[in-house]
Amino acid sequence: MPHDHHDHDHLSPSGHPYRADQDQGLTYWQVMEIAIRELMIEKGLVTAAEVQAQVDAMDARTPAQGAAVVARAWTDPAFRDRLLADGSAACAEMGFDVGPMKLIAVENTADTHNVVVCTLCSCYPRNLLGLPPDWYKSRAYRSRTVREPRKVLAEFGLTLPDDVTVRVHDSTADMRYLVVPARPAGTNGLDETALAALVTRDSMIGVGVAKAS
C-alpha cells in the first residue's frame, strides 16, 4: 500500500530504500549515461560542476518545502489568497523557485477534496515536493485516478464521505498542481513550523490528508 515512510533501517537520507544498482553489473543504459555526460562536458554544453550542482539541488528538494508553503497558507490568510491566485509568485515569495511552469494551488475544504494526477506522463511539482514517488508514474495511478478516484483514494487509506466532492486535476507539461490540505482540527496553538510537520507529501498530492496534531 502506498504510504509516507516511517522510520526504517537501510534508508537513504531522503527516507527511501536505496536501489541496489550502484555496485552491480554495469548496464547498457548506465554506460550510455556516462558516455553522454562525458561528451556533453567535452563539447562544452555543460560542466561537471553544473551536473553535480543539479544533483545536489535535486537532493535538497523535499516535501518539506511544499509543507512550509502549506503551513504559511494555514496561518497567513493574505498569503493563502495570494497562493490560490498565483501559486508560482507566492512560492517565489518564500524563496522557492518553481521554474517556468505555472503552479496552481487548490485548497481542500469541508466539502471539496482535490487530487492530482498526470495522465499523459509524470508532471509533478518537483521543485516543491522532490522527485515523484513510483506509484505516481504508474499505469494504475495515471489511468484509474481520473475514472475511479474514490476507489484509488480508498486504496491509499483515504475514504471520503459521499457528500464530499472529489476534484481530479490532470497536470500538463506547462503547469503543476499543489493541493493545500485542510488544516487539522485542534491545531490552533501550533506555530508555522509545528504545522508544517503535519503536512505530508501525500496530502499535497491529494491521496492523503494532513496528520492530526
Binding site: Y18, I36, E38, M58, R147
Partner: protein
C-alpha cells in the same frame, strides 16, 4: 496497428482502467541511484542550455511506445530520449557515442569503476 485508432496514443492513459497491461499500484518508493539522478540532471541542464525542450524529451519517450514503458525503467527511457535529442541537436555523432561507450565499458564492470575517468 490492427484496431481503429481511437484518438488516443498509448501514453494517454487517463480512464483506461481495463487496459490489458494494468498492474497493481506500486507500493514502495525507491530512492534514485546516482546514475538516474545524473540522467535527470543532464536533461534539466539540456533544457537550461537550450539543447532541447521538454517537448523534445516527451516526443521521443512517446514514440518509444508502449513496450518500452513496460520493459524499461523510467530513467532508462529518459537516457534514451536524452541521447536521441542530443544526436538530433548535433551535440555529438553516433560514431562518437559508440566509441565512448566502448571506452566506458573497458574501464570496469561496475558503474563506479566505469564512471571513473577523471572528468
Amino acid at each position: 496497428m490492427t484496431e481503429p485508432f481511437d484518438g488516443k496514443r498509448w501514453h494517454d492513459m487517463g480512464g483506461a482502467v481495463a487496459h490489458p497491461l494494468m498492474g497493481p499500484m506500486p507500493g514502495d518508493d525507491h530512492d534514485f541511484a546516482i546514475w538516474e539522478k545524473r540522467v535527470d540532471a543532464l536533461v534539466i541542464l539540456s533544457g537550461l542550455k537550450g539543447a532541447f525542450t521538454v517537448d523534445g524529451l516527451r516526443r521521443v519517450l512517446e514514440d518509444m511506445g508502449e513496450e518500452a514503458f513496460e520493459t524499461m525503467t523510467y530513467y532508462e527511457r529518459w537516457v534514451a530520449s536524452l541521447n536521441q535529442n542530443l544526436l538530433e541537436a548535433g551535440t555529438y555523432s553516433v560514431a562518437e557515442l559508440a566509441e565512448r561507450m566502448d571506452a566506458v565499458r573497458a574501464r570496469g564492470t561496475t558503474y563506479g569503476a566505469a564512471s571513473d575517468a577523471g572528468v
